[in-house]
Symmetry: C2
Subunit: 389 residues, 2 copies
């Protein structure tokens, strides 16, 4: 099978951005191009995969062609990949498959979202539809509500505390404070997190990710081209993905996401590594409980121990695994369709040792974990510094 | 490169269908499974690609996981592919790439749309957004309007007549009358077409495709598996795709779709065939002028001669190339996201000689042509009876 590497990656600053969807995409793409050490021509892009959920307040259809045109790649085969908040995790997956398939040597995986300049009602609607409709959304159960249920159950089964949840937020804000692209570049204290207004018990304001505008772009290439484009390719060693039932009540357990477990199993097996080998990970912390589930389901820590493990600082930069050094969805921000590609961009920097003050030491094996809905879709990728076997 | 074949294909009846989105998808999938001669297990599906534009009146998010669950494939990596009316043409493209990449041996490419049970306003909105927004949609130019401009220009440059346009509708209705899955199973006369109410001059009611509910599913497999699953695999010999500028005024010509030309060039080259070799084609006749542009841009006939060529009956079943033997978007119906997969299903039957009263004689080379917007995205596939070189 053709080996595939990430050869460039960029993102816009995440946050409240008054610029247009196109401008944000352009900002991410320009940075992505600039990171390709030896230069690359836009014309060499053979396929484009664009993740987006709301495509600009549901206003800009045929988005993939629109954005291909915007970056000077009109003509390239392009499509939108939509899988709720896992959209660009799957866009990345499909871009990797395109290169492996021989369809092209160089593919663009990207994501973009504008969330702040659509009306609240509209936004709640198109955010909400990514959840299960019949049993959850139409009954009034929003995403904070669903994740609150998972958190409550985790507390009952494993004794996880609100302080454990707060530890996730505190860590990720500390990391975000070191990320000039993050939406929230400030630290918070456990007391602030615990005293914040309640959103859906036990999840307070700081247990929830934010409303974010942003874009991220990644270029993947086949081995031969990758070696011509850069001296520091970041290899895609494993690519796993899975789906699951949408409704929480139809799943066997509320304290794990089966899609994460399945996707991780495939990604680890392909890469020939295990969770103990992972140095740095970007996981889908749409809510603090989601990071605790993730570090357990990905095997970093046994089921039920994610809370204390986090509270002990084991997932800080410098800990056992640096989890969400970018600040994660919590502090970096969560522009739905851009999140998966943004995770890859962070790990690209980490593996290359270019993450500055938030660099994880000796980052050689990295993992990206992108979830759609409350676990209905999931993509997991293992990236490595060493060439895969 | 791994050879890939279509091993099964099914569709729901297209039309005004009161059933749920899930039920329509199930209907298509069940037929698809039943067409796999030697049987196949749902569990063997390794990836799923679901094309849909409006996912049930924009109500059922995380659609790919929802539908994977519906067909008993919960867990399978699934994603929605959205490229306006070319959504499932690209879903098929990406499913083929998945198999070629080694990600799986068996992939599902599908599409589904419910259009009749959403409000008119809502429908016009989510149909309209697939067009160019800044210069066309917000100025009031709907899709009939855009295609009317293309038709007007074709008339000016090449002398194409309303009678030529009507010949497309008459032919496709005659074909649809032989298709028990078509939305309109009745013939029309040229007089009826010409006397119908004007929608956007020169396009009358019968120059426009309809509002349709429906679903279509296709299974593609790698060569070894394909040979175990069926004695009559339909080979994917060529897969081309392209994008283009969304706005008609930004393109060099109004009388051709560059995306069609580019996509066809790649597909023909991969398949080692030319337009003269094509026996049967399903082309994207969202409007009658679109079929005329398609038969020219695909090279069946020189530019400008598509109208008279059609009026002379050269694209009838039994003519030079049987174009839209299914009835096309015009008579079979156009459930946006399901159209591309529905085209593949028709050609699967044609290549296997199973198309009954609408069978094209000696169909050995077939072409599917699926367009998004007014040509901003396009996927072209060449399917063959003979194993590709």
């Amino acid at each position: 099978m053709t080996r595939v590497a990430v050869v460039g990656a960029g993102m816009s600053r995440f946050g409240t951005r008054p610029e247009t969807l196109r401008a944000l995409f352009r900002e991410a793409f320009d940075e992505c191009l600039a990171t390709v050490d030896k230069g690359v021509a836009v014309e060499d892009i053979g396929e484009a995969y664009v993740g987006s959920v709301g495509f600009g307040g549901l206003q800009l259809g045929n988005l993939s062609a629109l954005l291909a045109h915007e970056i000077g790649a009109a003509g390239v085969p392009a499509r939108r990949v939509e899988n709720a908040c896992a959209s660009s995790g799957f866009a990345f997956r499909d871009a990797v498959a395109a290169v492996r398939s021989g369809a092209c040597d160089l593919a663009l995986a990207a994501g973009v979202e504008k969330m702040n300049d659509v009306s609240g009602l509209h936004q709640r609607y198109w955010l909400g539809v990514s959840g299960e409709t019949e049993w959850e959304r139409l009954a009034g159960l929003t995403f904070p509500g669903v994740y609150a249920l998972l958190a409550q159950r985790h507390m009952i089964e494993y004794g996880t505390t609100r302080e454990d949840l707060a530890a996730v937020a505190v860590k990720n804000h500390a990391n975000g404070a070191k990320n000039p692209k993050a939406q929230f570049q400030r630290e918070i204290t456990p007391q602030q997190a615990l005293a914040a207004p309640m959103v859906a018990d036990p999840l307070g304001l700081f247990d929830c990710c934010s409303t974010t505008d942003g874009a991220a772009c990644v270029l993947v290439a086949g081995e031969d081209l990758a070696r011509r484009l850069t001296d520091a390719p970041v290899w895609v060693a494993g690519a796993g993905a899975a789906s699951d039932r949408l409704a929480a009540h139809e799943r066997p357990s509320l304290t794990r996401l089966d899609a994460t477990e399945r996707a991780a199993r495939v990604a680890y097996a392909q890469a020939g590594v295990g969770p103990q080998d992972v140095d740095v990970a970007e996981v889908h912390d749409c809510f603090t409980i989601a990071e605790i589930l993730a570090v357990e389901d990905l095997g970093f820590v046994p089921k039920g121990e994610g809370g204390p493990w986090t509270a002990e600082g084991r997932s800080r930069i410098g800990g056992d695994v640096a989890v969400n050094p970018s600040g994660g969805l919590k502090a970096k921000g969560h522009p739905l369709g851009a999140t998966g590609a943004g995770q890859i961009r962070e790990l690209f920097l980490q593996i290359r040792g270019e993450a500055g003050p938030r660099q994880a030491a000796d980052a050689e094996v990295a993992l990206a974990h992108n979830v759609g809905g409350s676990g209905a879709t999931c993509a997991v990728h293992v990236l490595t510094k060493e060439v895969p076997a």
